[in-house]
Symmetry: C2
Subunit: 325 residues, 2 copies
């Protein structure tokens, strides 16, 4: 993994990815006690940064391999990112999802042109199903984070941050990134190392699911004790990846953990002050910036709001509990 791969991915994404802006509000600055710049990847195609990695991986395949199609395991943002990228390339995508996934997510993934294969979590082995389909149809597996071309695609977010921060005169800041398996933050960290060495990426996770923070502190990969029970389920993974962790270890600052309530509070602030919709897992970085200012260094903090695919009832609850007025 290196900056050349990220720049090559940026070349393949040009004209297809949305260059998300850096948003701000004097009201958020006041809460945080410093300038807060928010990169709303919720505005990305398919509603999350995952489209970048999906596009990067699909576009990097040799033509004859790509034309046979791709396959992914996901019930969430990675599924939609890969499906839409494959659709725009005109190649088949098979997405393997648990049969009890929310109906709307299944429908959305199908609407992006993917063939959705459902399996029973209790009785079936998804890896076995995936391996069988891949072999039979020659599909290429696109892993969600521990995959070089996916990391390279996510890293294009970091190239944009480096350019936008420079335009705004920001040369030194913490860059808070909502973190699951670490594909996004390791890509961003590599981009910043090359293009904006004064910017330091730091992972933000849900309380109780802060495997990245604890792994960084321990100097080795440690796992979460459980996988369920967080409202921020989109970014809960067992542990950092084999590829992503060494990059994080070399380049990232310490992690921060955020409560579910603070994630909801941050969603309400993003609604009131930025006019963007963020999902709970996509709000933890903003929550850290707003509500844990003592954990952050510098006059400016940059926040990546990673996704906006939240169900309406959860969003309504965030507003009901935490929106002003």
């Amino acid at each position: 993994m290196n900056i050349d791969m990220i720049e090559a991915a940026a070349g393949r994404l040009a004209g297809w990815v949305r260059r998300t802006p850096l948003l701000s509000s004097p009201f958020l600055d006041r809460i945080a006690g410093r300038r807060v710049l928010v990169k709303p990847e919720c505005l990305q195609h398919t509603g999350s940064f995952k489209f970048r990695g999906g596009w990067s991986a699909v576009s990097a395949l040799p033509e004859d391999v790509r034309s046979r199609g791709v396959i992914a395991f996901s019930s969430g943002n990675h599924a939609q990112g890969v499906a839409h990228a494959a659709q725009e390339h005109g190649v088949p995508a098979v997405i393997i999802m648990p049969a009890d996934a929310p109906k709307l997510k299944i429908e959305n993934t199908r609407a992006y042109g993917a063939e959705v294969v459902l399996y029973d979590r209790a009785t079936e082995d998804r890896d076995e199903i995936g391996a069988r389909l891949s072999e039979k149809r020659g599909l290429t597996l696109i892993k969600p984070f521990d995959e070089p071309q996916v990391i390279a695609g996510q890293g294009t977010t970091g190239l944009e941050i480096a350019e936008q921060a420079a335009e705004m005169g920001v040369s030194k800041a913490d860059v808070l990134v909502c973190c699951g398996g670490g594909g996004l933050i390791s890509g961003i960290a590599l981009a910043l190392e090359a293009k904006a060495p004064g910017l330091r990426a730091r992972p933000v996770e849900p309380e109780g699911f802060d495997d990245a923070a604890r792994s960084l502190a321990a100097g080795q990969i440690v796992s979460n004790e459980r996988m369920t029970g967080s409202l921020c389920d989109a970014i809960v993974t067992p542990h950092p990846g084999e590829l992503t962790f060494p990059i994080m270890q070399r380049l990232c600052g310490p992690g921060i953990a955020v409560s579910d309530d603070d994630a909801l509070r941050a969603m309400a602030q993003a609604f009131t002050r930025l006019k963007v919709v963020i999902e709970p897992g996509g709000a933890v970085a903003l929550a850290a910036a707003l509500f844990q200012p003592e954990a952050i260094q510098g006059d400016t903090v940059i926040v990546v709001a990673t996704g906006g695919n939240v169900d309406a009832p959860v969003f309504r609850m965030a507003l009901e509990r935490f929106a002003d007025g």
Copy 2:
């Protein structure tokens, strides 16, 4: 009013205004039966396009006049746009608001650095109060739409649309604009006339408050019969302006009127598919694109989502009634 004034305003706004993107979603295209491109001015500073006009007007004043300060009558988006523009120029702003305006709007306007002067709608004359303050302190009145430099500032939205449409290969389309007094649409229409003559601006208004549509149809300025009773109150004005109407008459296509329910439906779609927050008055253009496709011409429609300053209870209601899933 001409394109030179709009380009001069764009020069003064450069580096201060946010260049909002053009968003899209295959799901919205499917509902509308054509490609839908949405310019989310809700992401603009202060949450609406009004910041453009406010900045343009404040920045156009001679230094010695500007330093004495500006004054505006508004309880809404114009107030915040003018207040923030004045604050960033380091000059005083006085905003005259009815004493029964929502507390949050008063607080927000103050937070943008303005001095808010409240008046009693029943017993006091706001024009008299404004005239007295202006004379005593040498403040310059910034009118909300019938003011050349305000129209020029709003017109910068049209310059961006012309450039962005060209980048996307769109040379012919209806451009639907949420319309109150007509400052935004007349500015956009002038910009499109010069830069993208295949794009045609068309006003969209709430049903029962479609003074612009009826004025265009009648060939003369006609008024709304009432001023209250629409959820889209931010864009309800008595009638088109003296300056704006002749421009609209020369350049705009026919108007479209939208029900409150369709505005709420469009807000829910913007939440689910675009991840942006739109206020009811800022959603009527998207509502027309999605739910009145027969009123529109061409393969592509461009929509300006003018603002996002909606109270949480109204937004929750839109989601509760109309969001999927």
